[in-house]
Symmetry: C2
Subunit: 168 residues, 2 copies
Amino acid sequence: MNRIFRTEPLTAPAFAPFGEVLEATGSPDRLINQGLCGRFHDRAVLDFGPETLPAGRAGISLFHAEPRSLPYRLELVERHPEGSQAFLPMTQHPFLVIVTEHPEAKPRAFLTNGAQGINLRRGTWHGVLTPLAAPGLFAVVDRIGTSPNLEEHWFDSPWLVVSGAGQA
Amino acid sequence: MNRIFRTEPLTAPAFAPFGEVLEATGSPDRLINQGLCGRFHDRAVLDFGPETLPAGRAGISLFHAEPRSLPYRLELVERHPEGSQAFLPMTQHPFLVIVTEHPEAKPRAFLTNGAQGINLRRGTWHGVLTPLAAPGLFAVVDRIGTSPNLEEHWFDSPWLVVSGAGQA
């Protein structure tokens, strides 16, 4: 049994195969409100099909998830074939973002820095929402529609996610 | 000079004329992830026109705003005629939501409880983003489009927002 992988810091380049990191870093695209607010404009690739008809649309939901801890046992990944899905933390607590290019590949576990959201590209395999502290409160921008939009893959043998060097 | 009004707690019924309060209260609409996550489903009325063509679309931006303090001098309100605008705090700090039914009416200033976002209905007059603590970091879901989408109204005489009874 050697199905173990380590957390790594979340960065935009490392996460690029899976989607976008949503963060207010670097120079804002615009200064608004008499210069008192920076706008980092249109940072997520929202994609709600239509893969099948009827077409979906964007919606905002709230997710309230139980906190997990490391080491974390990863038993399944899931994906949404019909739409992108953005997770916007409503706290400054880091959370874990588990993704994989396909279910047979070794997954990756990105640890946010407490000021990052993410947007998963449509169809990206990912772990369920895994906050590491209470309250696990997130705003989620994903597809609202009537067609099936969830596939799950359960691993024959679970993975174990352990803390990367120098990380919490 | 008596242009003063007080903050009040943000509640869904009180805010209903202006839009939706986005919060994970009451029973979730669905339990997902083996019962470990509550989904409060599709809580915002997103509306991106088309008031004019070309039509807009939803986008996610990040806003990083300077914190303000009470008493707060309110010099202007603004509105977006082409689209709704949701503010999703990425911290647990309360922030101030100033709205008014029309620029000649007495404004209202709602204070969030630290676990609430809001969605402003298309065309709602509102104050600029006013966090009360650093970092004033928000995810914003609003209209991405090419047509003009900002109107400002400057008050001849500014308003002063003061803390409501029993509030910070």
